[in-house]
């Protein structure tokens, strides 16, 4: 897969690529154990049709389902230095990176794109948990800064889907510095009164939760997502007691006032459209199957931020 250039991939491609999957492929839901046909899973945005369990979804698949007609333009993220600390544990960091790139077909742990959802121009960033645990390093920081700059330049809301085990240890202190760095990016949006909407997906933990993932104007989480600063195992070791059922899950956070909403992935697009349009003072959306916008959607009229 070519991830170097900006490109637009219409939804039709994803249908073809799905067809390449052998017809006899079945997967087991990690939660209820039901055998599900692959096609059924992807049509359902990787949500189990039996029990509603939300399985992992890649940023690319998420964007294909989210943007009108599956059309979006990927935004280039400035390249950070590779291996700034010359970090070596049992493996060298560049080797781990190569393995992650090979395994995911992606360049790094965050994808940034511009496009329209329900004819509402937005910028989206999504973190990829399958890429080194979605960990936040210089690249993810650059991606957030770039996403915020684009949202400001285009006068659009930024929707960010978080998913991460935390900071990228192989970048040491520079990964930690992405906490203030991403916070600066979010401030750029806030100063222009542009909506910043966070969708917390499973799992969002550590320094990611303690920075950009908790600073949204609106905080939405997917059902049962683990959202925390310290992970449950660390806490159990510290306090030496068992944690209650559902601790640090999305619904638990909602009960404790830490979230605005917990929303099923299958309803998310609709909600994001409604919220973005309200906050941008745009007229209510027209529902139904809209044709894909033209190939150069970036040239379409832009909305101005609310004052």
């Amino acid at each position: 897969m070519n991830w170097i250039t900006n490109y637009v991939r219409p939804r039709i491609n994803s249908i073809f690529s799905r067809r390449e999957v052998p017809e006899n492929l079945w997967s087991k839901c990690d939660s209820c154990g039901t055998m599900l046909f692959h096609r059924e899973i992807s049509d359902n945005l990787n949500v189990c049709s039996e029990c509603g369990h939300h399985m992992h979804i890649t940023p690319r698949d998420r964007f294909l389902a989210l943007f009108d007609g599956g059309v979006f333009s990927e935004i280039d993220v400035p390249e950070p230095l590779t291996d700034p600390l010359q970090f070596r544990d049992q493996k060298k960091y560049p080797e781990r990176m190569k393995a992650a790139q090979k395994g995911t077909g992606e360049k790094e742990a965050m994808l940034v794109a511009a496009g329209e959802i329900g004819r509402t121009p937005v910028v989206c960033a999504a973190q990829d948990f399958s890429f080194m645990g979605g960990s936040m390093g210089m690249y993810v920081g650059n991606a957030i800064v770039k996403a915020a700059e684009e949202a400001v330049r285009l006068g659009r809301p930024l929707i960010l889907f978080s998913a991460a085990g935390g900071a990228r240890m192989q970048e040491g202190i520079l990964s930690l510095m992405q906490m203030p760095r991403s916070t600066v990016a979010i401030q750029m949006l806030k100063e222009k009164n542009l909506p910043y909407i966070v969708v917390l997906t499973h799992p969002t933990t550590g320094g990611v939760t303690a920075s950009y993932a908790m600073l949204g104007d609106i905080q939405i989480a997917e059902p049962n997502a683990l959202i925390c600063f310290a992970g449950p195992r660390v806490i159990e070791q510290t306090i030496r007691e068992k944690l209650p059922e559902g601790f640090q899950r999305a619904e638990y956070l909602l009960d404790h006032g830490m979230l605005d909403r917990v929303t099923d992935r299958r309803k998310l697009r609709e909600e994001l459209i409604v919220i973005c349009r309200q906050l941008m003072k745009m007229p209510p959306p027209t529902w139904g199957d809209l044709p894909a916008p033209g190939p150069d959607e970036a040239k379409m009229p832009q909305t101005k931020p609310a004052k």
């Binding site: 240890m169 040491g172 203030p180 600063f229 310290a230």
Partner: protein
């Protein structure tokens, strides 16, 4: 009674012998041990120089966590006058892991905030070993807002193993509290200077150290994760903390190269705990120096410069 670190064992023996000799001389009048004791002292001094001249990153962690190391409270008492402790987050509790209040620094009114670890069993428990809960960060946010309102510079002293990983802390929004504290650091239109005096533990440290200037004590550390934590995740063996400490580049000397720290404050030979007066004076000089660098700067320039500093951080790697 000095507390010796594991790598200081040979030193403990020599200093112990010198002490014994002197005790013997006190009990037996006319016994002359002066020259022998002096020779031992010289030997100990040479050993200290040797040990501390080339501290490995892991040993620096040990020194940074030394139980007798001066802590936030010691610096506040020695360097500030009229310290007025201000308590509470106005929401839930007062977190004793975080000290804060108004004070004067060289007669200038300021707000000082820092993590306090405690220095004996009782105070360590009371301070929760310097591990703050959400209330600690929210208290800091409140104090920074007040400083901003009245135009008082903010000085933060960083010394925490990290934010407290507890049940209540999570329920009350540990992540959000840290995120808001970092955000507040970036918003205030007054000079914000930080000194890492011991351990700069991850997000719990960033929440106070997103500053215009960051100084680090010579043997302090600042890291995304503790070496033990990193070792257990990446090496699957928490005993590999020496290797992890090496790889993480958490020393003041490395953080200068990475552009994360702006200056290193020298410690007395053998670490801050061996001569508190000296290290406290050095920290005082550094704070004065950093504040002076921002003298006369306008609020919006301070904010812009602080943001720019963090936006451009890391772009040059170790060559910064």
């Amino acid at each position: 009674m000095t507390h010796y670190l594991d790598f200081e064992k040979p030193l403990a023996e020599i200093e112990g012998k010198a002490e014994e000799l002197r005790a013997l001389a006190r009990d037996n009048e006319g016994m002359d041990v002066a020259s022998e004791a002096a020779a031992l002292d010289a030997k100990a001094q040479a050993m200290l120089k040797d040990l501390y001249g080339k501290l490995t990153p892991w040993r620096k962690c040990q020194v940074a966590r030394h139980p007798e190391r001066p802590h936030c409270k010691d610096y506040i008492e020695a360097l500030f006058t009229e310290y007025m402790p201000l308590a509470g987050d106005r929401n839930f509790a007062d977190d004793h892991a975080v000290m804060g209040g108004t004070a004067r620094f060289n007669d200038m009114p300021v707000v000082v905030i820092g993590h306090e670890k405690g220095n004996d069993t009782q105070s360590r428990l009371d301070r929760n070993f310097g591990m703050a809960r959400p209330e600690g960060y929210r208290k800091a946010v409140r104090l920074m807002e007040m400083a901003d309102k009245f135009g008082l510079p903010v000085i933060t002293l960083i010394d925490t193993p990290g934010a407290y990983p507890g049940k209540g802390a999570e329920e009350r929004g540990q992540s959000e509290a840290i995120a808001r504290s970092t955000e507040k650091c970036l918003q205030i239109g007054v000079p914000l200077v930080s000194v890492v005096i011991g351990e700069g533990g991850s997000g719990g440290a960033v929440a106070f150290a997103t500053a215009n200037r960051v100084a680090m004590l010579e043997h302090s550390v600042y890291s995304v994760i503790s070496p033990e934590g990193c070792a257990s995740i990446l090496w699957k063996d928490s005993d590999k903390m020496r290797e992890a400490a090496e790889a993480l580049r958490l020393t003041a000397q490395d953080l200068i190269k990475l552009g994360v720290a702006d200056r290193v404050i020298p410690e007395p030979l053998g670490g801050a705990h061996r001569d508190r007066a000296v290290v406290i004076a050095n920290v005082g000089k550094a704070i004065a120096g950093m504040l002076e660098e921002m003298d006369g700067h306008k609020a919006k320039d301070l904010i812009r410069a602080r943001r720019q500093k963090f936006l451009s951080m890391g772009s040059k790697g170790l060559a910064a």
